[in-house]
């Protein structure tokens, strides 16, 4: 379902991954953590500290060195009180103190400690998931849509928290469609479409009418924001089973030429970023 994906994130850095809903952002996170369903086929390599991540190493590192903030609130254990769920993720130091502190930070009052997941509103459940990863002390945090449905104050708290974690020499991969939030903290932004990376750009390229961006899809995504033009690109992303043979964006691209239908463009360097489009300048 995802193919031709190349991205990297370094210690001290925040990489935001944005893109179409259903473009494989969660699958990417799950591939790194080694928690893909058994019918998934994986090729290519994932390296951590320069060494290839085997499934045995993934398992050893999961929750310790690499932590996930999952997208679905269904990842909470329905039968365990949420305070306890967060305490069991603390690997070093005082569990109760760490749990209370992180809940405090995310404005979850002490009566929430004893609640079960079904008693939480959407936003409360998401803050609990965030807390679980943040107390783990992991060196790589992969957050899969951590902010939808949260209040602005809590979003800012979470974003600052991610920045602190990165500034302390850790790496953060923030998967989100909240581009505005991502821009506040990310160093670079990867844009995904139909399972492949179409562009990786410095965060400051997302400005104006998108003229600094490289790929037509990235430009369209930027312009569709409600604070920009709020104008969509017609059509929809191709399904993994019916991918076009040429450029995956060709059926919706106004710049497409005959050449675009011949082969999937390769990723190339362009203006301090990378892009998968033969006509990008």
């Amino acid at each position: 379902m995802i193919s031709s994906l190349n991205i990297s994130v370094e210690a001290g850095e925040i990489l935001a991954v944005v893109g179409a809903s259903g473009s494989g952002k969660s699958l990417l996170a799950h591939a790194i953590l080694g928690i893909l369903p058994s019918n998934a086929k994986v090729s290519g390599t994932i390296k951590f500290n320069g060494e290839i991540l085997t499934s045995a190493r993934q398992e050893a590192l999961r929750g310790r060195e690499i932590a996930l903030v999952p997208q679905s609130v269904n990842y909470l254990d329905p039968l365990m009180r949420v305070g306890k769920q967060v305490r069991t993720s603390v690997k070093k130091g005082n569990e109760a103190k760490a749990q209370r502190e992180v809940f405090e930070r995310y404005r979850l009052k002490s009566d929430v400690d004893k609640m079960y997941p079904f008693q939480l509103s959407g936003g409360m459940a998401r803050r609990t998931l965030l807390s679980t990863a943040m107390v783990s002390g992991a060196r790589v945090i992969i957050a899969d849509e951590p902010t939808p449905g949260l209040d602005p104050a809590v979003i800012n708290e979470a974003l600052n928290h991610f920045r602190d974690v990165a500034d302390n020499g850790n790496a953060v991969m923030l998967i989100t469609h909240d581009i505005e939030s991502a821009l506040k903290i990310a160093d670079k932004i990867a844009v995904l479409y139909a399972g492949s990376t179409v562009e990786v750009a410095p965060a400051n390229n997302f400005t104006g009418n998108g003229e600094k961006l490289r790929h037509p899809y990235s430009k369209g995504l930027w312009r569709a924001l409600p604070q920009n033009e709020f104008i969509p690109i017609p059509g929809s992303q191709p399904h993994p089973s019916t991918l076009p043979s040429g450029c995956l964006f060709e059926p919706r691209c106004v710049k497409a030429t005959l050449e675009c239908t011949k082969a999937q463009p390769v990723m190339r360097e362009l203006r301090n970023g990378i892009v998968r489009c033969i006509h990008a300048t």
């Binding site: 259903g22 509103s121 602005p152 409600p226 604070q227 399904h239």
Partner: protein, 200 residues
């Protein structure tokens, strides 16, 4: 035609009151933003407006008449998580045509592909599924639409696509819409007025 919430009070079992004495009127041709901190009861209030939850106190009326839960409901609610709003054992075609038969034009403007109709819900992404939930909710008898974080899980292009399609129907049919969103920019773009649930 107006949707009116009068003196609404709600609490779960014997818990504390989530809210009490809420008064709210929604008129046709009006888009109202509803904001408030997480957990404050926005979703609960939306369910009450759409007749999916009974208020503990107060009443919901449409044109000053109490609403009844039989037949097609004129107040339709769209949730944040479409996976929870569709029957997993039905194909998309059946789900889509459950209440009415959406026309080609609507399907195109929502970006629904023909080929998706033969799929099961779990074979579609959240964004693809949400387009179906929107189409399904926009039947000819829908007077009011309650969009509770309708596009929160979607990318900006899909969000703009769904909202542009909804706005077109909103103009044609003179509907009223409530928008719940934490995204200030979206509320600003869409709404004629904005209310905070605490201030109701």
């Amino acid at each position: 035609m107006q949707l009116e919430a009068k003196n609404i009070g709600f609490r779960y079992d014997n818990g504390p009151w989530l809210f009490q004495g809420i008064n709210f009127i929604l008129k046709p041709r009006e888009i109202v933003g509803l904001t408030g901190v997480s957990g404050r009861g926005k979703t609960t209030f939306c369910k009450i407006l759409a007749g999916l939850e009974k208020p503990v106190e107060g009443s919901i009326t449409l044109n000053r008449k109490e609403l009844h839960r039989n037949g097609y409901h004129p107040v339709q609610l769209i949730y944040q998580n479409p996976e929870k709003a569709v029957n997993p054992r039905w194909k998309m075609e059946k789900i889509l045509n459950e209440g009415w038969k959406p026309d080609e034009e609507l399907l195109t403007s929502l970006g629904i592909e023909k080929e998706w109709l033969m799929r099961w819900p779990n074979e579609l992404s959240g964004g693809e599924l949400q387009r179906f939930c929107v189409a399904r909710a926009l039947g000819p008898n829908t007077r009011f639409l309650i969009a509770d974080e309708m596009t929160t899980m979607l990318d900006a292009i899909t969000q703009a696509q769904i909202w542009q399609a909804v706005l077109e129907i909103f103009k044609k049919r003179e509907m009223g819409i409530v928008v719940v969103s934490h995204e200030a920019k979206l509320i600003q773009r869409l709404c004629h007025r904005v209310i905070e649930i605490n201030s109701l």
